[in-house]
């Protein structure tokens, strides 16, 4: 099993963060923190800016004000690819031209330093990919194209891909939306197990109170 990857002392902290989308202010002066190794749920109705906030934390968009701290360091101006905050997209965003294994390995091959890239070459990458796909129950689907996956399988691959480069924090944008009830419940249990097992600092966007209580040790409400 993967060892805990985050710093339990600090985790993720938002300091008076403001978010706008298409010129419209969505969030103003929001502050909260996610303790290292714990999971926090971000609750709120549709359109309140939950996904926009995740995009800002991940570095896809810039905040209109405030700071983002990761393990005590200000990462507000850190480029997205150097921020080490993973994001599992609501619609997965699996790379359609790559296999399941290549999707999961993608982040490993982008390691920030040359030494790290070298260390993730060849068999070590394959082992890590296999380990993660086993964790999400898809070890036998490594060579499949992602286009043939079911909705639940695609979400599992997206989760494995997000975990692969051992991010300091992982953001999950409604990871259980769009699944049928049985699959939703099974994946929710798996997700809780995986996040606990990997000791990942996680922020989960959801509009489902039950989901939030099951997965998270703390909640933040927007709107």
């Amino acid at each position: 099993m993967t060892t805990p990857s985050c710093d339990r002392e600090h985790g993720l902290e938002l300091d008076r963060i403001s978010v706008a989308h298409d010129g419209r202010s969505l969030i103003r002066d929001l502050s909260f923190s996610v303790e290292g190794g714990s999971t926090t749920a971000l609750l709120g109705p549709s359109g309140v800016g939950k996904s926009s906030l995740l995009r800002v934390i991940a570095g896809i968009d810039r905040p209109t004000g405030g700071r983002i701290l990761l393990d005590g360091s200000d990462v507000t101006d850190t480029p997205i690819h150097q921020r080490r905050i993973g994001l599992v997209f609501q619609d997965n965003q699996l790379f359609p031209h790559l296999s399941v294994a290549d999707n999961v390995a993608y982040g490993l091959r982008n390691a920030a330093t040359r030494e790290a890239r070298r260390s993730w070459r060849g068999s070590r990458t394959r082992e890590r990919v296999h380990e993660l796909l086993s964790l999400v129950g898809l070890a036998d689907r490594e060579n499949d194209p992602v286009g043939v996956l079911s909705g639940g399988e695609a979400k599992r691959v997206a989760l494995a891909r997000g975990l692969a480069p051992t991010p300091k924090a992982l953001l999950l944008d409604e990871p259980l939306t769009g699944l049928d009830r049985a699959l939703h419940d099974r994946l929710m249990e798996d997700l809780a197990t995986i996040l606990r097992a990997t000791g990942t600092t996680a922020l989960i966007v959801t509009h489902d109170e039950t989901e939030a209580r099951f997965l998270a040790s703390a909640t933040v409400r927007l709107g």
Binding site: I60, H81, F95, N110
Partner: protein, 521 residues
């Protein structure tokens, strides 16, 4: 199981394809086969390759094709990216303007660059490559931009979130997803450059592509056997290239739902503005060079066209040539569009073989067709070489595949239940066609008409074999005037090119007006 009435009706509907088939067979397939027969009969089948100029033409064709294609793809990527941003202000205008060069007559593009480029490079390889890039960047934009627009920007964000730099995200995500579109663009541009005729006649200087060499052998040297051999070899090479291309996996990952998610980008605006300005500059240079000689403004070229001249070799009546070109264009459109409508009615519902036969004029080089017609229809009762009507009819054949390509997709998307509904309300098949089909494809018909006019006005390859002094068209006049020495001829040549440019733009206006017409999706 279809009833006998259904079968009878199907048989009658198939008859609609006959006029188109006859035209393509008579004016493309038979002439090309005649060329092949001439080559087969010729003792020079193998000996032709040692004749002076042929190896040079092959070498120049290969070099200019590789260079032109590489430059075109490289220059086309930035505007393709910029114009994939649908939310950008002026997006449609920029797309329309940057597409115009591909629709322009090759001689207009040639004349524009003769007016724009400095004397040291205005004729030769550099000029040919620049003109080809100008002409074909639209292909890259039109092929790549729609695919780029459907690549969800979030995929790139996902890659960046997983640690990829901008460059790596482009190379590992965007480029592989664009690959099928890039293959297509490369194949089309390569084909266009390899079979280039008008641009090389105008700007090649002493160089010739195989197409130009076919013309030179046939018309200047009287070496019909050598010209036929070259034309057939080129047709075979082109056919092989097209077969290889069509055999490639051209599956493109697209998701039209992602289009609206692409956001405006300031750099995209700048690139789009630059692409638009760069597209317009040669055309402005063309207009200016028709009025400027040795650093002074002059209307001598325009006066020569409007009031005539006694200078030997410069006798040209603009009104006469313009009215003839317009007449030919209208005749060509009047033939191509009804046949295209009739053919689309058949081919939208069945027979891919029919489609392929009707698309033959796209693959066959216009020069080969022109030469084939000259050597095929040269004896009574089929000696049509001096018949004035041959030129507009050949223009119609050249335009036919484009007409079908415009009308057929729109026609095939008309929901069958609309026709059924009309029939249940008592409409006969003819009335269903007139009241349902025709109104719904009227926009496509207007587009096809404008496109036919533009193609006929600019057609140069086959026309250069078919016209005589008293049947010259505007492109022939441009090439003849700009091929002569002297300022007056150059000024007049540019002036005729300006007239041809304006006539073509007016014809193309038909194609833009019809954008608002119905199109089922």
């Amino acid at each position: 199981m279809p009833s006998s009435a259904d079968l009878s009706r199907t048989g009658r509907v198939r008859l609609l394809a006959v006029p188109g088939l006859v035209m393509v067979l008579a004016l493309v397939l038979v002439p090309v086969l005649a060329l092949g027969a001439r080559t087969f009969d010729s003792a020079s089948l193998f000996g032709v390759w040692s004749r002076p100029g042929i190896v040079d033409a092959i070498g120049f064709t290969i070099v200019e094709t590789i260079l032109s294609t590489a430059v075109t793809i490289a220059l086309g990527l930035a505007p393709a990216w910029a114009l994939s941003h649908h939310s950008m202000p002026g997006h449609r205008f920029a797309l329309a303007v940057t597409t115009v060069p591909f629709m322009l007559p090759t001689v207009v593009v040639g004349a524009a660059f003769l007016g724009l480029l400095p004397g040291s490079v205005e004729r030769g390889l550099v000029a040919v490559v620049i003109a080809h890039a100008y002409f074909n960047v639209a292909v890259v934009i039109r092929t790549v931009a729609p695919v780029w627009a459907t690549i969800d920007p979030m995929l790139v964000s996902a890659a960046r979130n997983l640690g990829a730099s901008r460059t790596r995200a482009f190379v590992s995500i965007t480029l592989p997803l664009l690959k099928p579109a890039l293959y297509s663009a490369t194949a089309i541009v390569g084909f266009m450059c390899a079979t280039s005729y008008g641009v090389v006649r105008m700007l090649g200087g002493g160089n010739a592509t195989l197409e130009v060499e076919v013309y030179r052998r046939a018309i200047l040297f009287g070496d019909i056997a050598g010209a036929s051999t070259l034309a057939v070899v080129q047709l075979l090479v082109a056919a092989i290239c097209l077969l290889v291309w069509t055999g490639k996996d051209r599956v493109v990952f697209t998701n039209a739902g992602h289009r609206s998610r692409r956001r405006d980008h300031p750099v995209a605006r700048v690139v789009a503005v630059i692409a638009t300005v760069v597209t317009v500059i040669p055309l402005v240079a063309l207009v200016l060079s028709s009025m400027r000689s040795r650093g002074h403004w002059t209307l001598a070229g325009w006066r020569l066209l409007t009031s005539g001249s006694n200078v030997p070799g410069l006798r040209l009546d603009l009104i006469d040539v313009l009215s003839r070109s317009l007449l030919f264009a209208v005749i060509a459109a009047a033939i191509a569009v009804p046949i295209g409508i009739a053919t689309s009615t058949v081919s939208s519902s069945r027979s891919t073989i029919l489609d392929r036969v009707l698309l033959l004029p796209l693959g066959a080089s216009a020069v080969a067709v022109g030469l084939g017609i000259v050597i095929t229809y040269d004896s009574s009762p089929f000696d049509f070489r001096s018949s004035w009507w041959l030129t507009p009819v050949v223009h119609a054949v050249v335009a036919l595949p484009f007409v079908i390509r415009v009308i057929q997709p729109v026609h095939s998307r008309i929901p069958e239940h609309l026709r059924s509904a009309a029939a249940t309300l008592g409409a006969s098949p003819l009335r269903v066609w007139a009241t349902i089909d025709v109104p719904l494809i009227s926009g496509a018909i207007r587009t096809a008409f404008g496109l036919s006019l533009a193609i006929s006005l600019g057609e140069f390859g086959a026309t250069s074999f078919l016209t005589r002094n008293d049947t010259d068209t505007l492109p022939i006049a441009v090439e003849q005037l700009l091929g002569r020495s002297g300022d007056l001829a150059r000024l007049a040549g540019h002036a005729v090119a300006v007239v041809l440019l304006l006539a073509t733009l007016i014809a193309l206006a038909f194609t833009t007006r019809s954008r608002h017409s119905w199109s089922a999706s």
